[in-house]
Symmetry: C2
Subunit: 339 residues, 2 copies
């Protein structure tokens, strides 16, 4: 049986985690990797990610790269915003490869980016490939799992999902992204620039609303800092009391002035009780907690790679997590999961 | 837009709950109902279920019933065992209607009933209809939700799911089914007859194993009573200390002598802390709890009716929950969810 040929597009921290997990999956063959980082170019993909050569060089993207690598599917992780990655996605689809991307805005692009969504969907259908944006969040915890939880409900009035994370165990770029170590003023200035916030709340809310069939009047977002109450430290940073320990971000989907969907993300160093929580006000009511939370980087790579057989099986077009079968892990040769 | 025509096949407690929920769903039209209970025959379906006439009589099944009613989909709830309902399912599919059934053994029939599964799948494909067995359990809490939870995992070593239910709020037939009020000896004699146990553990375990790609050596089941420690009462029954309050049932999927999948169901009167719990020993580990648990009858009707658009959209054949898109609730006109 031939292997499923995978190209890794973008070998940053998430891309590296994707490669690590792919190397464990029977039936998947990594056949190429592209990046723009001069420190990685020319090096072996395995050496950069798992410290062991696998005979796949990291190269700069060139026009005939994909035609030569002939991937069945490309794992794409170069950016959060569709305007930045659209051209890459179109290029990949033109090579007739399916795509799973960690681009947050791709997870449910129909609300905020309807024109790009249409363009990507058209390209996917024309090239007979499937395209999916996913990850742990957006993509799983605060949208797919929320929708799944409503499967047992005869009525849903309100939906709340919160993600309370201890950022201490996350990588340094993540800790920086949430503003850890800044003063409150620095945080606010960065927040105003838009560099601190989690991207994906609008997409998660839009996906939940579409799944339930709710027409929202609008979505509101709010971003604030969480200040350290005492000195807290991670492997990388030490934060004094009064400095920013992390972020507290809320987004609400509103109908008739009521917050019918509320997502709250708190990610900070020293969080004492990390957890995921989903509360459905409905019939029956649901109060779901994942104690300790779910580790973001490991889980994002898991969700992306676990979706590979589902995307390979899917009809052509731009997919979202709510359109695909239950996204479970798979732990046997990949052809067992292909149609 | 034409309505989606639904026939209710079996108007017992679950069938009645299905009808109640269907009557709230925009775009669904109940066009017929069959049962064998002389106390229901000839009565109006709405009168029997929601205390209000809807102009649909409950009739005995006759050869031309479905040809006249012309349902798009039939909700089937007459039994737990495939040998008892196979003929009904074949008959319904012959009329070119899709089917969602609460038959527990249909939820994942490939392990215990492979021959019937093949026969039903062939009939579904021949008649170009889709057939799904589902409910809250089997169908959702101890299989679909377990598989969904592994979606964030890069490795899964063991899976445990437990359902700790307070049976006090359930209907009388349920309380009787779990042995409430019996002496321990009566319980054991009924257990030996096979009339007490929850049907569906083998199906749930087989579905989890298939989703993960695990080949089990065998499945073991164990059934015991839970005795009341003090007097407990429900609306229907009072139980003295020492009498049976309910059931404690475990099933394990085993590989190389290890219980890799363990399902535990405790349903008893006076349970102080009802909950659903899913524990994944894996990377990352998952420890999920639904506080208070999920009300079984409401949830079974919810899962069945919530799956209607997914089954109408599905390719012909015998489906299982792991093959269908995320089973969320839907709360707008049904055509919004149809392809």
């Amino acid at each position: 049986m031939r292997t499923v040929r995978v190209v890794q597009f973008g070998v940053g921290p998430i891309g590296a985690e994707l490669v690590k997990y792919c190397l464990k999956k029977p039936g998947i063959e990594l056949v190429g990797a592209v990046d723009i980082d001069p420190n990685k170019l020319g090096k072996d993909l395995g050496e950069v990610t798992v410290g062991k050569k696998i005979g796949v060089p990291i190269t700069r993207y060139t026009g005939d790269f994909l035609a030569k690598a002939k991937p069945d599917i490309v794992l794409h992780s170069t950016g959060s915003y569709l305007k930045d990655v659209k051209t890459q996605l179109l290029m990949i689809m033109k090579s007739r490869a399916d795509v799973v991307s960690t681009c947050e805005e791709l997870s449910y692009p129909f609300l905020k980016n309807p024109t790009i969504a249409k363009e990507l969907d058209n390209a996917a259908r024309k090239n007979k490939v499937s395209l999916l944006g996913t990850g742990v969040n957006p993509g799983f915890l605060m949208d797919t799992l929320v929708l799944t939880s409503t499967g047992v409900c005869q009525d849903v009035k309100k939906v709340r999902s919160s993600r309370i994370q201890d950022a201490s165990s996350r990588r340094l770029p993540f800790q920086k992204k949430i503003g850890a170590g800044l003063t409150r003023a620095e945080f606010q200035s960065k927040a105003a620039e838009g560099t601190i916030k989690h991207v994906g709340f609008q997409e998660s809310i839009a996906m939940i609303a579409a799944g339930l069939g709710w027409k929202l009047d609008r979505i509101e977002e709010n971003l604030d800092s969480i200040l350290a109450e005492k000195t807290v430290a991670s492997e990388y940073i030490t934060i004094e009391a009064g400095q920013v320990a992390g972020v507290n971000q809320t987004a609400s989907g509103i109908i008739n002035g009521e917050n019918v969907i509320t997502l709250n993300l708190q990610a900070y160093l020293g969080c004492p009780d990390p957890r995921e929580r989903i509360v459905i006000e409905g019939q029956p009511p649901i109060d779901l907690t994942i104690k300790g939370g779910v580790h973001g980087d490991i889980a994002t790579a898991a969700v992306v790679v676990n979706c590979i057989p589902r995307v390979l099986n899917a009809e052509p077009g731009l997919m979202t997590m709510k359109d695909l079968p239950v996204p479970s892990g798979w732990f046997a040769e990949i052809h067992n999961f292909l149609r």
